[in-house]
């Protein structure tokens, strides 16, 4: 009882929507039918054309049209992920960028004396031995005394060497003994081959502490670079052992660095600056870092409305070996961006007013699949060690630091510490320098894979700077300016300021035009489809309907015809085997099948009456009177033209 209604429905469905195969009996019939009835233009011509040549021509044309369509559509698909660039300029109130200012010298030399005493002594000694340079007689005498009294740690660990190129022997500074160089020689400065009669080259040798035969010798074409590099290695080693709080105290305070500050026509002071400790530049101060929650903005361009600061650069307190230039370094960056001031900072001269005009450009790239950039950096398998938003630079540095911790067991001084690691120093990691140099070399040669992992960020802000310098203070205003600035500095500074201790800096927007360069997808799906439609329509007047037709005819119908024929053949073969005598009867089966097929006698063909679903004039369909033979008419007129005729006939 339960199945009865279901069966009824299926039976009814079968009745109203009978399943039928294709009308055409054979494949060629099907093709012919398709060509005559399809909506595409070429096919019909093939069938209708008379003459073999013409038919061939049409076949070729149709096929080439199909080929063209496929080619063009493939082209369209391949160009789908292309981007167009748009540049918009907007004049508006602009957020002022963060401006980070550092003294080039990281720590006060006077305060660092305790830590660097040994190292400086050694350096001076090296200078004297190699170049005969001494700072003054009294000092020399003292250092000679020291030479004999204290053993030098530094030279034992990493000796400075004088290399004689031909013999590949090196004279060690401290002991004076000669030894053969083993391992590879690296020219750190340049690959230019020294001329034969050149002086001896200075360098240092780094050895694997565990395996002393593994050594690498780094040579420099100039002693200046060699000494500085060598000094820096030891310096980093010493600094790595000093905790951060002490280092901050050793460096310049905000009061030390900033004498005056003026922003947007209003006075500002050290409260507007955020301290930021940079491993190589000591205490840096960031103006408008956004840490207080508000970001200052400018609504007027021009030098008066920007940031104006006078910096106090205490030239006398500079470390003579670490830094050899005087001044400050500044960097203009976004609040979320980490200032890589050692890489891309701008240097500022003392006794001069540096005016920096900015021009703001914001760029945005499209991320995947348009280009290989990253939106937030979350999809990069490198942990961001910096507490700032992602950038390529951050990724590379973090990646290197990670590799460093993995292979050397300690972290490099210039970059932030990963969790659980500590900075390298000799006491704990006697081997680190060799390891670091090896790793750094690999990094530079792109063997660490960092350059492959790290992608550039999709959006970035850029401040294009125009820097110009004027003399400051001017000759006539120097006198009062220095007096007043000394008063500003306060009483604790007893000496009068010198103009070479001062630097004036102006950072301002040249104009408030923000250029926004963005990539937009050149194509959307809608446009792609339109282009497809255009191509299909142009060559063949085809549409999706045609595509469906093609699928229907070439796949479903053809397949079912083939299957049907196979089935018939199998059936015939079977029945022939069963009763050999009935072979003749089945022979005609194949031919008859198409026409006998109920589908071919198509009651749905839109005759006038059937199309209108008019009731048939007589209920009984069978003929009562023999019909006149109007078959001749068929040859002359096609059905579609017949319809109006019929109507007219009907009326008269």
């Amino acid at each position: 009882a339960a199945t009865a209604p279901g069966k009824k429905i299926t039976a009814r469905l079968k009745r109203t929507l009978p399943v039928r195969g294709p009308q055409a009996p054979t494949l060629s019939e099907l093709m012919r039918w398709y060509c005559l009835n399809t909506n595409t233009h070429g096919c019909r011509r093939i069938v209708v054309s008379r003459g073999r040549l013409r038919r061939l021509l049409w076949i070729v044309l149709t096929l080439s049209a199909v080929g063209l369509i496929l080619w063009q559509c493939a082209e369209l698909l391949m160009n789908y992920y292309s981007a167009s660039v748009s540049v918009t300029v907007q004049f508006q109130k602009l957020p002022f960028p963060a401006v980070t200012i550092c003294n080039i010298n990281p720590y006060k030399y006077s305060a660092m004396k305790d830590y660097l005493y040994e190292l400086d002594k050694e350096t001076k000694k090296a200078l004297e031995t190699f170049y005969g340079f001494s700072e003054g007689k009294s000092k020399v005498r003292r250092s000679v005394e020291d030479w004999n009294s204290t053993g030098s740690d530094f030279f034992e660990q990493i000796p400075l060497l004088k290399v004689e190129d031909f013999s590949r022997t090196a004279t060690e500074l401290h002991s004076g003994q000669k030894r053969k160089i083993e391992g590879s020689v690296f020219h750190k400065d340049s690959s230019i081959v020294n001329s034969g009669d050149s002086n001896d080259i200075i360098g240092f040798q780094l050895c694997d502490a565990n395996n002393s035969s593994e050594c690498a010798l780094y040579t420099f074409s100039s002693g200046v670079n060699a000494i500085q590099e060598w000094y820096k290695l030891h310096y980093m080693n010493i600094m790595a052992q000093i905790p951060l709080e002490i280092k901050e105290k050793l460096s310049y305070s905000a009061e030390d660095l900033l004498l005056t500050c003026f922003f947007d026509g209003l006075s500002c002071d050290k409260r507007h600056f955020t301290r930021f400790h940079h491993p190589l530049h000591g205490n840096c101060y960031t103006f408008n870092s956004g840490e207080s929650g508000t970001i200052l903005s400018t609504s007027t361009g021009g030098s008066e409305y920007g940031l104006q600061v006078v910096l106090y650069i205490d030239e006398a307190d500079y470390n003579p070996f670490l830094v050899t230039s005087t001044g400050a370094k500044i960097m203009v960056h976004d609040q979320n961006e980490y200032p890589f001031i050692e890489d891309i900072g701008t240097e500022i001269e003392t006794a001069a007013a540096t005016s920096i005009g900015m021009h703001f450009t914001q760029s945005r790239k499209l991320s995947k699949p348009y280009s290989d950039c990253t939106e937030t950096g979350a999809d990069i398998p490198v942990e961001n060690l910096y507490n700032k938003s992602y950038s390529l630079q951050i990724c590379l540095h973090s990646c290197f630091q990670k590799a460093m911790v993995e292979s050397c067991g300690c972290a490099q001084y210039a970059q932030p510490l990963p969790a659980g690691a500590e900075y390298c120093n000799y006491k704990r990691n006697p081997n680190w320098m060799y390891c670091y140099y090896r790793l750094h070399e690999k990094f530079v040669k792109e063997q660490l894979g960092c350059q492959q992992i790290c992608k550039d960020a999709c959006s970035f802000k850029e401040w294009a700077l125009t820097t110009s310098i004027a003399q400051w203070p001017s000759v006539v205003s120097e006198d009062w300016m220095l007096r007043v600035l000394s008063w500003d500095k306060g009483q604790k500074l007893n000496k009068k300021l010198n103009k070479t201790d001062l630097a004036n800096l102006m950072v301002f927007y040249k104009d408030l035009n923000e250029r926004f360069i963005s990539e937009n997808p050149a194509n959307t799906l809608v446009i792609l489809l339109s282009n497809f439609g255009g191509q299909l329509g142009l060559w063949m007047s085809c549409s999706v309907v045609c595509v469906i037709e093609i699928v229907e005819v070439f796949f479903i119908d053809s397949l079912s015809i083939v299957l049907r024929r196979q089935w018939q053949r199998a059936k015939k073969w079977w029945s022939g085997r069963q009763q050999g005598r009935a072979a003749q009867a089945t022979a005609s089966d194949v031919e008859r099948q198409g026409h006998e097929n109920p589908a071919c006698i198509d009651e749905d063909l839109p005759t006038f009456t059937t199309a209108l679903r008019l009731p048939l004039p007589q209920d009984s369909p069978l003929p009562r009177t023999p019909p006149p033979n109007y078959s001749t008419l068929r040859l002359e007129t096609a059905f579609t033209e017949q319809l109006p005729d019929t109507l007219e006939l009907g009326q008269h």
Binding site: L17, T260, G301, V475, W480, W487, L512, G537, T610, P627
Partner: protein, 631 residues
């Protein structure tokens, strides 16, 4: 009757059309339309019919949906940018050269004498650790009138909550606080501030604090000197500034010599006399067709640093700016410094941005549609956003303070502010300048120009003249200028400038519309073609069908009305037979059939019953297959 005639004619016309009923019409449409889907609906078996019906519907709705998207895209007026970089012969930019110092101190000294003495005395007092041994007694008595208009005060911030304000020249107070003052000064808690009052002696005062005394002194001096200089007539001010023949010592453009006469003088409030090379106001702008320093502008300038006003400008050098022809140089915004005693080389790249105007972006072509009166038009210069912003500020200033600021041009019938006529101007000006609201109004009302040209400069510097060549260069230049054998120049005053085009001298970003009407049409066509194989003609067909069906509706309604009338008439005269003509009309014209309900049921009846051709089907059909037999 006319109407009836017309209707009859229309009806006849309709008869030539596809059908008499909606269904007939639809079938005819489906069979004959050029769009691909509908044909299928009527051509095949019931199941396919259903499928095709839905497919057609789906495709039609897809087409409309995507058309909506396309039209939306078009109406958003997107632009695409194209970038071109290269070298071409271009107009050499106009070069404005000024001295950082506006006037020769030797010329303005009489005017500023009082002021300088005041500030010197004030500094003496401020800087003096112990105020006892001041040299004040020796000097002439000070004229405190200037001071009292805008005084500088010391603010003792020892006690944060109620700071003590000390007037510097108030002798009583300093005497009383003698000891405490020295104490606290030792602690460095003093700050300088400028006292600004809306009227002299009124209570409505503000203190502009400065973290640094140097800043405070400079600001104060600028306010005071502005007030003094604004009373001086323009020609006098021009005379006090630097003259072209003193400043521009040598000039060479490409291979052609030029001199100070090739420069146009303009008075700039910040920098005094400025000189513009190649401004293009009177003569044609110069072209440069070669890159490199050899083909650019070479200048030697003297800024005579000894003659600077000490308190007004502390930076020394030349101020220069590259800008477009016929535009006003806004040196404070776009200008750069050139340092004395150096050779400054400036490689120029012209960075142009050409934008489409409304509706693609909100920019103005010549500033005529900006609601701010451009005060810089008196210089005959073209519109720029800087000019607009400054004009906007000056207009506000005139409106609120009643006088114009010295740094900007004046509207008609207004005078510059000075302390005598407008005692409260400094207060009014600084409150206006600090007002964010005022700035925002100006930003909102000014529009940027559609063609934005910037000169990207690559600046490099070297010491000049070299020590070896110093002597003869100074000698020759001094001789040429002053006709004397004495050397009147020195390292602190001399500047060499090279301005030239770089190897690639232009970078042009030009916008073009991303979506034109042609694009829209071809996209619409593409969509329609892609889903349904249709074209505009198909749309017309569809419209035709709608008109047809409207006609059918009208005819049906008319027929129904007529039928109603007839039925009523028949009800009145039930036996009245129809006339012959009526009968004929009824047969010939289906539309006038009295009863619309009967119309579809009517078989085509021309008197004799038609033969039943359906019987033909019994015979095997023609091999060509789908033929119908209605005849």
């Amino acid at each position: 009757m006319n109407l009836k005639k017309y209707l009859v004619r229309a009806l006849h016309r309709l008869q030539k059309g596809p059908g008499y009923t909606y269904k007939e019409l639809l079938v005819w449409y489906c069979d004959n339309t050029n769009t691909h889907g509908p044909k299928r609906i009527i051509k095949e078996g019931p199941k396919k019919k259903l499928i095709w019906f839905f497919l057609t519907l789906l495709f039609a709705s897809l087409v409309f949906w995507q058309w909506g998207i396309l039209i939306n895209t078009y109406l958003s007026y997107n632009v695409t940018s194209s970038l071109s970089i290269g070298f071409k012969t271009m107009k050499f930019p106009a070069v404005t050269i000024c001295n950082a110092n506006p006037f020769k101190y030797s010329e303005v000294k009489p005017l500023l004498k009082e002021l300088d003495r005041l500030i010197e005395a004030a500094l003496e007092r401020i800087l003096q650790p112990t105020p006892g041994n001041s040299t004040e007694n020796v000097s002439l008595p000070l004229d405190l009138e200037l001071w009292n208009q805008i005084p500088l005060v010391l603010i003792d911030e020892h006690d944060k909550d109620n700071p003590i304000i000390l007037d510097i020249f108030d002798t009583n107070q300093t005497a009383v606080d003698n000891e405490t003052a020295t104490d606290s000064r030792a602690n460095k808690k003093y700050k300088l501030a400028v006292k600004l009052c809306s009227h002299q002696g009124s209570e409505n005062c503000t203190y502009r604090n400065f973290s640094s005394a140097a800043q405070a002194v400079t600001e104060w001096y600028i306010l005071q000197s502005t007030s003094i200089l604004s009373k001086v007539p323009l020609h006098e001010r021009i005379r006090m500034g630097y003259q072209a023949e003193d400043m521009i010592l040598a000039c060479l453009y490409g291979a052609e010599p030029c001199n100070y006469k090739n420069f146009t003088q303009i008075y700039h409030p910040d920098h005094g006399n400025c000189y513009i090379f190649n401004w293009g106001m009177d003569e044609e702008a110069l072209n440069s067709s070669n890159p490199g320093a050899e083909f650019g502008l070479k200048l030697i300038l003297d800024i005579s640093q000894q003659d600077y006003i000490p308190y007004l400008s502390s930076a020394a050098g030349a101020r220069l700016m590259l800008h477009q022809q016929k535009s006003f140089p806004f040196l404070k915004d776009q200008g750069i410094y050139a340092m004395a005693g150096t050779e400054t080389s400036i490689g120029v790249l012209v960075d142009e941005l050409e934008r489409m105007g409304y509706p693609y972006s909100d920019c103005t072509v010549n500033g005529s549609d900006v609601p701010v009166k451009n005060l810089y038009s008196q210089y005959n210069t073209s519109y720029s956003i800087q000019a607009c912003l400054r004009s906007c500020f000056q207009n506000h200033m005139v409106e609120i303070c009643g006088c114009g600021h010295y740094m900007f041009p004046l509207p008609e019938g207004v005078n510059y502010c000075n302390n005598e006529d407008n005692p409260g101007w400094a207060y009014c000006y600084s409150s206006l300048r600090a007002s964010i609201k005022q700035r925002q109004i100006c930003i909102d009302s000014c529009k940027e120009t559609c063609n934005d040209t910037q000169y990207k400069m690559t600046i490099s510097m070297a010491d000049w003249p070299s020590e070896a060549s110093e002597d003869w260069i100074f000698h020759i230049l001094s001789y040429e200028r002053d006709m004397s054998t004495n050397v009147t120049l020195d390292r602190n005053g001399i500047i060499k400038l090279n301005i030239y085009f770089q190897e690639y001298n232009y970078r042009t970003i030009s916008e073009s519309a991303a979506t034109t009407i042609v694009w829209l049409l071809s996209s619409l066509g593409g969509q329609f073609g892609f889903w349904m194989g249709g074209s505009v003609l198909c749309l017309i067909e569809f419209g035709e069908i709608i008109i047809d069906s409207l006609w059918i509706t009208i005819i049906n309604v008319i027929g129904w009305c007529k039928g109603l009338k007839q039925r009523r008439a028949r009800a009145r005269y039930p036996d009245a037979p129809p006339t012959v003509s009526e009968l004929v009309e009824a047969h010939t014209n289906l539309g006038f059939q009295p009863e619309p309900g009967r119309a579809p049921a009517l078989p085509p009846e021309p008197g004799t019953p038609p033969p039943n051709y359906d019987s033909l089907r019994v015979q095997p059909p023609d091999p060509l297959g789908p033929d119908s037999d209605t005849e």
